[in-house]
């Protein structure tokens, strides 16, 4: 059984937990369960701050979806969390005071990982606040020389989250075949 993982990051309230559950096979397993699988001796389960979901790919392979704890402070765990990851999904909450600053912050934090893989950005809560618009995000990215997918995403909608992940996959390998669509 080989495990692959996609990391979801972004500020608190951006929809990481919701997005992961939108595409997970089962309601996301709380990491408590992972913990008890790992260490049977450990009776006390801790509520764990990471989100976790899975997508079964075939008999041998499983995709794991990890959400980072959305804390903006200095965080030394991210290096560990991303190791072996195939790509990053960055979710941004359009209602926050300065979502561009959030974007710059998270792209900066994960720069090494992004350089090795790819990133796709989903802007959530646009139904609640439509400005700034997607174009404005691109303008900021353009200044940094970045051409990356930025979609209007409702984390509750599987369609939106799926498309974001597809964009991530095609960015990693445009030669992938589309399944008849």
């Amino acid at each position: 059984m080989t495990n692959y993982k996609i990391i979801f990051t972004g500020p608190v309230g951006a929809g990481k937990t919701t997005a992961i559950s939108s595409i997970s096979d089962r309601p996301p397993v709380s990491t408590d369960k992972v913990a008890s699988d790992m260490t049977r001796d450990m009776k006390k389960t801790t509520t764990v701050a990471c989100d976790y979901g899975t997508v079964r790919l075939n008999d041998d392979d499983c995709l794991h979806l990890y959400g980072t704890p959305g804390q903006q402070r200095f965080d030394f765990m991210w290096d560990i969390l991303v190791s072996g990851g195939i790509g990053l999904v960055l979710l941004l909450d359009n209602t926050r005071p300065d979502p561009f600053q959030d974007m710059t912050f998270f792209l900066g934090q994960f720069q090494d990982f992004i350089d090795q893989t790819q990133v796709a950005v989903g802007v959530t809560q646009m139904d609640r606040k439509s400005s700034p618009c997607i174009d404005d995000y691109h303008s900021h990215l353009n200044k940094q020389g970045l051409t990356i997918p930025v979609f209007d995403v409702d984390a509750r909608k599987r369609h939106d989250v799926s498309l974001l992940i597809k964009a991530l996959l095609f960015s990693l390998d445009p030669g992938l075949l589309e399944n008849n669509d």
Partner: protein
């Protein structure tokens, strides 16, 4: 028990929940068979976070109770006072792995003397932002230059009046839109044959798409609302919100996509910005981008605007907002390819092994909104001639995932 086969038991002490859960993930992902997390009293090795509240006292207690247990201390500071393996935060994977190996060695050595404190050196955290090169300015295919970004931003903040109409029309699901394009038509397409080339080009400036495009970019550039008149009911473009006010029954506009209109039949008028822009009784408000995208796609029908160069590399300037527009066939792949490496229309079809007309359709829709442009810098020219994208080592896995994303 044989030390080499049984996993080493690790206790993680004094940590925030988040730190703790990350260690769990780490052990689970990377070294399931070598290490497990356990309680303090059954551990072989302990990892202690020295930045926590009362960490020093906790460490003292721990040393008293488990004097033989090797420990790994993690901290933001340099403090090397304790005989332990030390890792400075932020913790990098390599550092943690080698610290664990060191601690394991100590575990296997009979304790004769107190080993000295060691620090695992790891590369400093990198400072990140703004080191990437600036992007080349977007190349525009029509004469209208979009306004500088700052003005656009200023303009948009005031406009929330029509937000309630957002996506009132569904731009996403109309199979008829991906209407029959006989993809065999372009199977033997030769761009050097002017007759064949002409068959796959159309006079975009003389279509509703072309006029709308011109009106839209005029509105954005002039920062003024614009009305587009012709044989259709007037279409008002609201520059601030990037929306348009049209008759409710706007769908028949798409049906005009196959017609050519003479300049004399069409007018583009700038409106006074103070004029009332509330939609009338039989009108509705739509987002402009998805409307133009769809109109261009319909007008294209697998063709490209006149004077399009079939063999010049095309680059992606901006990813279309694919969750809110129609994803034309293979659009994500084409966008991803052009973002990675400017590629001509002809080469795109052959690299991706897809029908040329699907490339044309995506190109036409994307170029109408300035999402793509010919790559004119020298750098783009050269990369376009280098071999196409490499196969990703996980392609098979990605393929499975794509199938899963489609299926339910």
């Amino acid at each position: 028990m044989d030390n080499r086969t049984r996993p080493v038991k690790i206790a993680a002490l004094g940590m925030e929940k988040r730190t703790y859960s990350t260690l769990q993930l780490f052990f689970n992902d990377h070294c399931k068979d070598s290490y497990v997390l356990v309680e303090e009293n059954s551990a072989d090795i302990s990892i202690i976070d020295m930045d926590g509240f009362q960490a020093c006292r906790m460490l003292e207690e721990h040393k008293k109770q488990y004097p033989d247990q090797p420990s790994i201390l993690i901290s933001l500071s340099h403090d090397k006072a304790h005989d332990a393996v030390y890792i400075r935060k932020p913790i990098m994977l390599d550092a943690l792995s080698s610290a664990l190996l060191k601690a394991k060695e100590r575990l296997q050595q009979p304790v004769t003397e107190t080993p000295a404190a060691e620090e695992i050196v790891q590369k400093p955290e990198q400072q990140t932002t703004d080191k990437k090169p600036k992007a080349a300015a977007p190349l525009l295919l029509n004469n209208v230059t979009p306004p500088p970004q700052e003005t656009v931003r200023r303009a948009k903040t005031g406009a929330k009046r029509f937000d309630q109409y957002r996506y009132s029309a569904n731009f996403l699901t109309e199979d008829a839109d991906l209407e029959h394009i006989d993809t065999r038509l372009a199977a033997n397409f030769n761009p050097d044959n002017p007759l064949q080339a002409a068959e796959f080009q159309y006079q975009s400036e003389q279509t509703l798409q072309g006029y709308f495009q011109q009106a839209y970019f005029t509105a954005l550039q002039k920062q003024q609302n614009v009305v587009l008149k012709g044989v259709w009911r007037p279409i008002t473009i609201l520059y601030k919100s990037k929306q348009l006010r049209v008759e409710k029954n706007f769908r028949h506009l798409y049906a005009l996509s196959g017609m050519l209109f003479d300049k004399s039949e069409v007018s583009i008028e700038l409106l006074d910005n103070d004029a009332d822009c509330e939609p009338g009784l039989n009108e509705t408000v739509l987002p402009a981008e998805p409307f133009l995208w769809k109109l261009a796609m319909r007008t294209s029908r697998g063709r490209v605007p006149m004077d399009t160069n079939f063999t010049a590399p095309i680059k992606l300037i901006r990813w279309p907002n694919f969750t809110r527009i129609i994803v034309t066939p293979h659009a994500l792949r084409i966008a991803a390819l052009w973002a990675k490496q400017p590629t001509s229309l002809m080469n795109t079809a052959s690299y991706l092994a897809i029908p040329l007309q699907h490339v044309f359709m995506f190109y036409t829709a994307a170029v109408s909104l300035n999402f793509v442009a010919p790559a004119i810098t020298e750098k783009d020219q050269t990369t376009a001639t280098t071999p196409p994208v490499k196969r990703h080592r996980y392609r098979k896995i990605f393929q499975h995932l794509l199938a899963r994303l489609r299926n339910n």
